[in-house]
C-alpha cells in the first residue's frame, strides 16, 4: 500500500526545493563566486582576494558596518522591551482579536510607506515642526537640524520601531493565548509579587520561547533593511545594506565584486548577530534565575511598565500621524512653511493617473495577485499533503520555510539576478514574481499553518465516514470552514508582495516600476505631493486586502454563528 498523498507531497517538495531553496542557494553561490573574483559577465575570471581588499579600502565601509550593528540591535532590543512592557501593562484589558484589529493598519502598511510618513513628520520642514512653529519654537524658517538621515541612525531606528513594535505586539498577544496568564498572575500576586514582577519573572519566561523566531526575523530584518534605511537612515555613509545596494547599482562595474564581498559580510553579520543574541538569551536566563531565586517582591516595576506603555502609545500615535500626513501631502496644493495645514488643496495629482502612479498601481496590484495566488496554492497543497500523510511537519521542512526570511535579501538577490540572466529569465515580470514569491510564500505558510492544524480532525473523520473522498473533504469542508484564515493569509501575502523593494529592483533590472520602488526612489528630494500619492496607495492596497479578508468571510458566513469568530474552526 503506498502512503496516501505521496504524489502530492513529492510535488510540493519539488516545487519548494526547486522554486525557493534552489534560487536562494544559486544566488548565494553566484554572490560567493563574485566575492572571490569570478563574474564572467564583467570579464572577471580569476579567483582572488582582490574584492575583499577593495571592500576594506572603500570609503565608509567600517562606519557602515558600525551603523548597521547599532541600528539593527538597537531597534530590535528596544522594540522587544517596549512591546513586552506594553503587553504587561494592557494584558487583560485588550483581547487578542481586538488587538489584532487595532494593529492591522500598522501591519498592513508597508515599511516604506510608514517610513516616508515618518520622514514627512520629523523632517525640519515636516508636520511636527509646522505644528509647533513659530508660536512655540520661534522658528520662522525650517531649522537647520538633521532630524532625518541623522548620523546616528536615530530616525532609522524610530522608523523601524513604528513598524516592528506592532508586529511584536501581535506575536506576543497571540503567544499569550497559550499561557495561563490569569492563573499565574493570581498565583504570583497571592505570593506577594507585584503585577509587573509576575510578568517579568513568570509570564515572559513562558512567552519568550514562543516568540523567539519572530524576534530573530525582526533582528535579521533590522540589520539588513534597505528601503527604510534609504528613506530615514544616514546617507553618507549609509548602513551596510544600503551601501551594498548603491555599489551594485553603480555605473562603475568594478564595484560589483567588492559589493558581493560585502553582501557576504552582511550575511555573516546576520548569522553572527543571531548567535550573539542566543548568547544573550542564555546570559539573561541565567541572571534571571538568580534574580528569581533571590525572591525580591519589588513592586517597583510598575513605573517601567507605564513608561513602556506611554512610549508604545506614542509610537502608535506617530504611525497614525505618519499615515495621515501622507494623505494630507497628497492633497496639498500650496503649503508654505510654517502653516499647520495646506493653504490650498487640490485633487490634481489624484486625477492624473497617467503621470505614473496609475501604471505603478496596476503593476503592483497584478504582481500582488499573482504572487499571492501562487503562494496560497502552494501552501494549501503543502498543508493538504501533510494531512493526507497524517503527519506533522518535520523540523527540516519548517526550516525551509523560514530560510528566506532569515537570509539577508542583499546576500543572494544580486547573485540570483546573475543566475536568472544566465537562463534568460532576467529583467522581466516573471523574474520579479518569482523573486517576490520567495518572501510571500513563507509568510502565507506561517499565517495559514496554525489555523489549518487547529481544525478539528474529527470533523474530517466525520466527512470521511460519510464517504467523502480526500478531494471532497478539502473542497467541501476544509476550505469553506477555513475561509477566514485562508483570506487572512492571502491578505498578508499580498501586503508582503506590495512591500517588496529589493527583489523588484534587482530582478526587474530597475525597469519594473511598482508603487514601492517608485515611492522609495522619489522619496529622496522629490515633490512631497507626488511621493504622498505613491505612499498613500502603497499603504492603502494592503489595507484594502485586510478589510476584504475580514468582510468576505463575514458575508459568506453571515448565518453561521460558529464561524463568525476570529478563527474558522
Amino acid at each position: 500500500m503506498t502512503e496516501p498523498g505521496r504524489a502530492l507531497r513529492a510535488t510540493v517538495l519539488v516545487l519548494v526545493l526547486g522554486g525557493i531553496i534552489l534560487p536562494i542557494t544559486l544566488g548565494l553561490w553566484e554572490t560567493l563566486r563574485a566575492a572571490f573574483g569570478i563574474l564572467p559577465a564583467i570579464g572577471a575570471r580569476e579567483l582572488s582576494l582582490e574584492p575583499w581588499r577593495a571592500l576594506v579600502a572603500l570609503p565608509g565601509f567600517a562606519t557602515s558596518l558600525r551603523l548597521t550593528l547599532i541600528t539593527g540591535f538597537g531597534a530590535t532590543l528596544l522594540a522587544l522591551v517596549l512591546a513586552t512592557g506594553f503587553c504587561a501593562a494592557v494584558h487583560g484589558r485588550i483581547g487578542a482579536s481586538a488587538g489584532g484589529r487595532l494593529l492591522a493598519p500598522y501591519l498592513a502598511a508597508p515599511h516604506a510607506a510608514l517610513a516616508i510618513g515618518v520622514a514627512f513628520l520629523i523632517a525640519p520642514s515636516g508636520w511636527i515642526a509646522r505644528l509647533i512653529s513659530p508660536w512655540l519654537t520661534g522658528w520662522t524658517l525650517p531649522p537647520q537640524i538633521a532630524s532625518v538621515h541623522d548620523g546616528w541612525g536615530l530616525a532609522l531606528m524610530l522608523g523601524l520601531l513604528v513598524k516592528e513594535v506592532p508586529f511584536l505586539l501581535l506575536v506576543i498577544l497571540s503567544a499569550l493565548g497559550q499561557v495561563p496568564v490569569r492563573q499565574h498572575l493570581a498565583a504570583g500576586r497571592a505570593l506577594g509579587y507585584g503585577r509587573g514582577m509576575v510578568w517579568l519573572k513568570l509570564i515572559m519566561p513562558q512567552v519568550y520561547p514562543l516568540i523567539r523566531l519572530p524576534v530573530f526575523i525582526v533582528l535579521a530584518f533590522a540589520l539588513s533593511v534597505v528601503d527604510v534605511a534609504i528613506i530615514l537612515g544616514p546617507s553618507n555613509p549609509p548602513t551596510l545594506a544600503v551601501a551594498i545596494t548603491r555599489w551594485y547599482a553603480s555605473a562603475d562595474t568594478r564595484l560589483i565584486l567588492p559589493a558581493s564581498a560585502a553582501a557576504l559580510v552582511q550575511g555573516a553579520v546576520v548569522i553572527g548577530a543571531i548567535a550573539l543574541w542566543v548568547g544573550g538569551e542564555r546570559l539573561v536566563a541565567a541572571l534571571g534565575l538568580r534574580w528569581l531565586r533571590a525572591g525580591g517582591r519589588g513592586r517597583s516595576a510598575e513605573p517601567g511598565l507605564m513608561a513602556a506603555s506611554a512610549l508604545v502609545a506614542g509610537l502608535m500615535g506617530l504611525g497614525v500621524l505618519a499615515l495621515a500626513g501622507l494623505a494630507v501631502w497628497s492633497l496639498a496644493w500650496r503649503w508654505p512653511w510654517p502653516l499647520a495645514l495646506p493653504a490650498s488643496w487640490s485633487l490634481a495629482g489624484w486625477l492624473n493617473p497617467g503621470s505614473g502612479w496609475g501604471g505603478a498601481l496596476a503593476l503592483t496590484l497584478g504582481l500582488g495577485l499573482a504572487t499571492t495566488a501562487l503562494a496560497l496554492g502552494l501552501a494549501i497543497a503543502w498543508l493538504e499533503g501533510e494531512d493526507r500523510a497524517r503527519r506533522g511537519r518535520a523540523g527540516w521542512a519548517a526550516a525551509l520555510i523560514y530560510l528566506p526570511l532569515l537570509v539577508p535579501q542583499i546576500g543572494f538577490l544580486y547573485g540570483l539576478n546573475v543566475a536568472a540572466l544566465r537562463i534568460g529569465l532576467g529583467g522581466g515580470i516573471p523574474a520579479v514574481i518569482w523573486a517576490q514569491e520567495l518572501f510571500v510564500f513563507p509568510y502565507v505558510m506561517i499565517a495559514l499553518s496554525e489555523p489549518w492544524r487547529a481544525l478539528d480532525a474529527r470533523l474530517l473523520h466525520t466527512a470521511a465516514a460519510l464517504g467523502a473522498s480526500p478531494l471532497r473533504r478539502l473542497l467541501a469542508v476544509k476550505l469553506p470552514v477555513l475561509l477566514r484564515p485562508i483570506l487572512t493569509a492571502a491578505a498578508i501575502g499580498f501586503g508582503v508582495s506590495v512591500a517588496q523593494y529589493l527583489p523588484t529592483l534587482f530582478l526587474g533590472a530597475g525597469r519594473v516600476a511598482t508603487l514601492t520602488t517608485e515611492a522609495v526612489t522619489l522619496s529622496s528630494g522629490s515633490d512631497r505631493r507626488v511621493v504622498g500619492i505613491y505612499a498613500v496607495l502603497q499603504a492603502a492596497l494592503p489595507l484594502a486586502a485586510y478589510l476584504a479578508a475580514i468582510a468576505l468571510p463575514a458575508m459568506v458566513h453571515r448565518n453561521r454563528r460558529a464561524l463568525s469568530g476570529e478563527f474558522g474552526a
Partner: protein, 211 residues
C-alpha cells in the same frame, strides 16, 4: 452479516507494546456492543483503527471485517463505517439540511428526491422545518439527532459511537440514547460504542468488553 474484529491491536511507533491487548469481537446486525474503560486507555484510537482514521505513527495489526469483507486496507471514505462523536460535530459552514445532504448517499438521485430524503430524515429527528437553520443554533439534543440522521443517510454498514452521549445532561441523555439505539436496531446496523459510563453500556443491551 456483522462487524468483526480479528486480533486487532494498535501500536504507537517507538512504544514496545500495543495500546491494548489484541481484540477479537463480533457485533451482530442491529446490536450495540460496548467497549468500556476510563479515558486515556485508547478507546478512541480503537475506533480510529476501525474507521480508518489512525494518525501517522500508529500501526494497526489484525483485521477489520465488515460483512465478511476485509476492509483493513481501505481508506476511511471507502469503508462505509459511520461515526458519531460527543459534540455531534456538525459542519459549521453548512445549514442543518446541507449537513444531512452532505451525508446522503449518492444512490439517491435527482434534486427533488434528495431534498425529500433530507426533509424526511429531519422529520424523523423531530427537526421538521430546520433545513436552513445554522447548526450552531441547535440545542445539544437536536444536534445529536441531526448528527445521527446525517450518519444514517450515508447508509453505513456499521456505526461507531465515540461517547456520543457524554455532553448531554442525564434526562436528555436517556432520551437521545433511546433514539440512537432504536434507529440502529430498526435498521439492523452493527454498532460499537465506546464509553466510560456504565449506564450507557447497560442501555446498549449488547455485550460489554472492558479495555
Amino acid at each position: 452479516m456483522s462487524l468483526d474484529l480479528a486480533a486487532l491491536t494498535v501500536t504507537l511507533r517507538g512504544s514496545p507494546k500495543p495500546l491494548f491487548a489484541a481484540l477479537t469481537l463480533s457485533v451482530p446486525l442491529g446490536a450495540v456492543v460496548t467497549v468500556l474503560g476510563p479515558s486515556g486507555v485508547g478507546k478512541s484510537t480503537l475506533l480510529d483503527a476501525i474507521g480508518g482514521h489512525l494518525a501517522h505513527g500508529f500501526t494497526c495489526t489484525g483485521r477489520v471485517m465488515l460483512n465478511r469483507r476485509d476492509v483493513t486496507g481501505l481508506p476511511a471514505e471507502a469503508r462505509r463505517i459511520g461515526i458519531l462523536f460527543q459534540d455531534a460535530l456538525m459542519f459549521p459552514h453548512l445549514s442543518v439540511g446541507d449537513n444531512l445532504a452532505f451525508g446522503l448517499t449518492r444512490a439517491v438521485r435527482g434534486r427533488k428526491a434528495r431534498r425529500a430524503a433530507v426533509e424526511a430524515a429531519l422529520e424523523q429527528a423531530g427537526l421538521g422545518g430546520f433545513h436552513d437553520r445554522d447548526p450552531a443554533t441547535l440545542s445539544g439534543g437536536q444536534r445529536a439527532r441531526a448528527a445521527l440522521m446525517r450518519a444514517l443517510l450515508a447508509r453505513p454498514l456499521a456505526l461507531l459511537l465515540d461517547e456520543p452521549f457524554s455532553a448531554l445532561d442525564s434526562q436528555l441523555r436517556s432520551e437521545i440514547r433511546g433514539f440512537v439505539f432504536d434507529h440502529i436496531r430498526e435498521r439492523g446496523i452493527p454498532a460499537l460504542l465506546v464509553t466510560h459510563d456504565l449506564r450507557d453500556a447497560r442501555a446498549a443491551g449488547g455485550a460489554v468488553i472492558t479495555l
